[in-house]
Amino acid sequence: MASVKAEQKENRMHQKVDQKGKPNAKPGVIEWIVGTISALLVLAMIAFLLYQAFNSKEGIPSLVINVDQVMSREGGHHVEFRITNEGDATAAEVLVKGRLRDGDQVVEEREVTFDYVPGGAEERAALIFMNDPAGYDLEILPSGYREP
């Protein structure tokens, strides 16, 4: 075991010759390359986070809903939609309600809850109506959320 170590050390000593000028440059070139890339990546991560820390507005979630499509199945009409949080703050337990209206009268109301809609994120869900939304006015709105 000791001899193996000594041999390795010797190997590295030989490599040292190839490298320019570093007094303790026993380790292979590859180690320095990996180490340097890692250092740059860690610095980039910290820099990115600090940039975000300085630039993110201390805000509230800003929730926007877009209806994608209506799929009619046996047992209901699935209204698929996306909810996008355009703010920086994360919203938890986001309750989204969908209504079918016929004039002033609410024909049907459905709801769904998202565990989280993080800042800048997009989540997908669907509401299931018994009546065909094509025949009514459809509105889907976020009702409320909780801070995580």
């Binding site: 380790p27 890692s38 820390a53």
Partner: protein, 291 residues
């Protein structure tokens, strides 16, 4: 003993014990050790409900990729856990597949005992639940075989490049060891929502400092490839930062596999990765202690 026997119990002293014990007996003892290791490693995940749910909603392509990636991972680990210095691909692959088998059987038994998988369930759900658990369980099975047999998983003694690559590989296993336990839980993303960017940046520094502590502790133990004359910054760059980057990449891969970053903004992804990177980096740095 020319060949390393599959899940061999006695390859430490083959001459001594080989004469008294039949190969079948050795094989069975090896299997038992494999099951022990699989349970020690995978029970925290087998008893986490997010892991059961992941089994049926996880993207099938990512699940398949995880299962495929596991094979070279186990083979390399088997190579490191092996007794002989020669790199016998076929034997390492065989040992890896046996460990995979043990991992699958252990997952099936435990999940069935818990009533998590039943015969009424759709096949897709049952297989998904077993598949996702079999990955950590098989790593445990392979480690159990060497650990419970009193051997240590050691880095390669080869050229400096091989030894270094081998050290980094053990860091991957170490970061999986702690990272896989925590990655499926909802807390990983929840913590990242509660943190500010400042705290995330500080967590990076804290992780790196703690890692360096472990790297130094190992250096003093004389187990590492670092000599006493290595300056601190050299070890810091080559092992601590490289190790941290490995645990970040492992965290990124695991969170992606578990679908924790779908539709998320870059800042949230980075923060979740930094949160999981904390335990993963400690696992990587302490790989030599815990493996």
């Amino acid at each position: 003993m020319r060949k390393r026997s599959a899940v061999s119990a006695t390859s430490d002293e083959p001459e001594l014990k080989g004469s008294r014990r039949s190969p079948t007996h050795q094989f069975l003892v090896g299997l038992a050790r494999g099951f022990g290791g699989a349970l020690i490693f995978a029970l925290p995940m087998l008893m986490t409900m997010e892991m059961w749910w992941l089994g049926f909603y996880l993207d099938r392509f990512r699940l398949a990729l995880l299962l495929i990636v596991n094979i070279p991972l186990l083979t390399l680990l088997s190579h490191h856990a092996g007794f002989e210095a020669t790199f016998e691909w076929r034997e390492d692959l065989r040992d890896a597949l046996i460990a995979y088998g043990i991992g699958i059987v252990a997952s099936v038994v435990v999940l069935w005992i818990f009533g998590i998988i039943t015969s009424e369930m759709p096949l897709d759900e049952t297989i998904g639940k077993i598949a996702i658990q079999s990955m950590p369980a098989s790593i445990g099975a392979l480690l159990g075989r060497s650990q419970l047999g009193g051997r240590k998983v050691k880095p390669e003694k080869g050229t400096p490049e091989e030894t270094y690559a081998s050290e980094l590989f053990l860091m991957v296993i170490g970061s999986l060891f702690l990272g896989l336990n925590l990655a499926p839980t909802e807390e990983m993303v929840l913590i990242s929502y509660k943190m500010t960017e400042w705290q995330a940046a500080l967590l990076i520094l804290l992780s790196v400092m703690l890692m360096h502590g472990f790297v130094y502790a190992l250096e003093f133990k004389g187990e590492s490839t670092l000599g006493p004359d290595t300056p601190w910054w050299s070890a810091f760059l080559r092992f601590t930062l490289a190790g941290y980057m490995i645990s970040i990449l492992v965290s990124l891969y695991v969170l992606w596999t578990f679908g924790r970053m779908d539709g998320q903004a870059a800042t949230q992804i980075l923060m979740a990765v930094v949160v999981l990177g904390f335990p993963a980096s400690l696992g990587a740095a302490a790989a030599r202690l815990i493996l």
